[in-house]
């Protein structure tokens, strides 16, 4: 009877472990296949040591000026150069995401809409958005580079797994005469574009108990079943 109880227990443990892994596998395989193209990414975003994430300070050779003509929309992506370090997960605490940017316009009849998206790309290439912020109808003084902010308050913490990369997407759309334009500046010196996140904590990932216990559970189930089958044959 003891061996029967052990057999039942082992088989149950194996079934639970298998079903847990199967559910995880199903969830992972149901993610859309959305590999991110690295070709057009501009790698400026970095992490500073004060536990907040800000954009880097590209030198003058890497700073970007993006000019958008009236009635057009442009999207630009910046990805961080280093991933979340292996062996750690990041937790971004609840708080305020503050995006600072600089724009100018060439004519008083045009207005500018800017939205930014901040998120991460996990090790499988899946892109996930954390926050999106938007400002519309901006009218900076003509030919005068002007600073604006977009503020997003997020009351939830965010978990980012080891090996993920962070990104910012910025979309600028311009309404007004087609011959006129607006310019967006991504710069760390004269127009310091940046996103400041809430504080970030690095945590050691959860220990994968399921994956560790599954092989011994399966092995014991196999040996016990084998023993029972041999007894039945006798």
């Amino acid at each position: 009877m003891k061996s029967l109880s052990a057999l039942t227990l082992t088989v149950l443990i194996a079934l639970i472990a298998i079903s847990t892994l199967a559910v995880k596998q199903t969830a992972a395989s149901s993610l859309p296949n959305n590999p991110e193209s690295k070709a057009d990414d501009t790698l400026y975003l970095r992490r500073y040591t004060d536990n907040n994430l800000t954009t880097a300070e590209p030198d003058s050779t890497t700073a970007a000026n993006i000019t958008i003509k009236g009635r057009n929309t442009v999207t630009q992506r910046w990805v961080n150069e280093t991933a979340v370090p292996n062996g750690y997960n990041w937790t971004i605490n609840p708080g305020t995401y503050n995006f600072t940017f600089w724009i100018s316009r060439s004519h008083q009849n045009i207005t500018v809409n800017v939205d930014f998206t901040f998120g991460y790309i996990n090790a499988d290439g899946q892109s996930t958005t954390i926050v999106t912020g938007q400002r519309t109808g901006l009218e900076p003084p003509v030919n005068n580079i002007t600073m604006y902010n977009i503020t997003v308050y997020k009351g939830e913490s965010v978990s980012i797994s080891s090996g993920s990369k962070l990104f910012i997407n910025v979309t600028i759309s311009v309404s007004g005469p087609g011959g006129q334009s607006a310019t967006f500046y991504y710069d760390g010196i004269s127009q310091p574009t940046q996103i400041i996140t809430p504080s970030i904590s690095a945590v050691v990932p959860e220990f994968p108990f399921g994956a560790v216990f599954l092989p011994p559970a399966l092995l014991s189930a196999y040996f016990i079943l084998k023993k029972r089958i041999v007894k039945l044959k006798i």
């Binding site: 993610l31 996930t128 958005t129 999106t132 938007q134 519309t136 997020k154 965010v158």
Partner: protein
């Protein structure tokens, strides 16, 4: 009818018990997943920060899934419309915020709609005035 031999009967009984346990686990998992799918939450907010209003929502779901949202508001340049889609990876949530600055005595109507998959799950109208707060 010949009774089953005890050494066949016991393994058979064990197998039936194990299968019943597996079935129970499968059904309970299915019920849990179905319950979680319904439990998608949208929390709307409107905060005044200086002369700006921060209007938006946070979408949270216990299961992964695709969402879509749209925002429209009236402004000096006419009706502004914006929409996007994305994917939620639990336990994380998605937050959208529109920063607007109404002129004195101006009322801005902000309409926000949120879909989970193809289903419209939430719609809210905010009326934003510069002197509110």
């Amino acid at each position: 009818m010949t009774p089953l031999k005890p050494r066949i009967f016991i393994p058979l009984l064990v197998t039936i018990i194990v299968l019943a346990a597996a079935l129970f686990l499968a059904v309970s998992s299915l019920i849990r997943v179905m319950h979680q799918e319904i439990n998608v939450k949208v929390n709307h907010f409107r905060i005044k920060a200086g002369d700006l209003w921060i209007v938006g929502f946070t979408l949270k779901s216990p299961t992964g899934g695709f969402y879509r949202y749209s925002m429209t508001h009236n402004s000096s340049i006419g009706l502004v419309s914006y929409s996007d889609t994305g994917y939620i990876e639990p336990p994380n949530s998605f937050t959208y915020a529109l920063n607007i600055k109404p002129e004195p005595n101006e009322t801005i109507l902000v309409n926000i709609k949120v879909w989970w998959g193809e289903q419209l799950i939430d719609e809210v109208n905010h009326y934003i005035r510069a002197d509110d707060g």
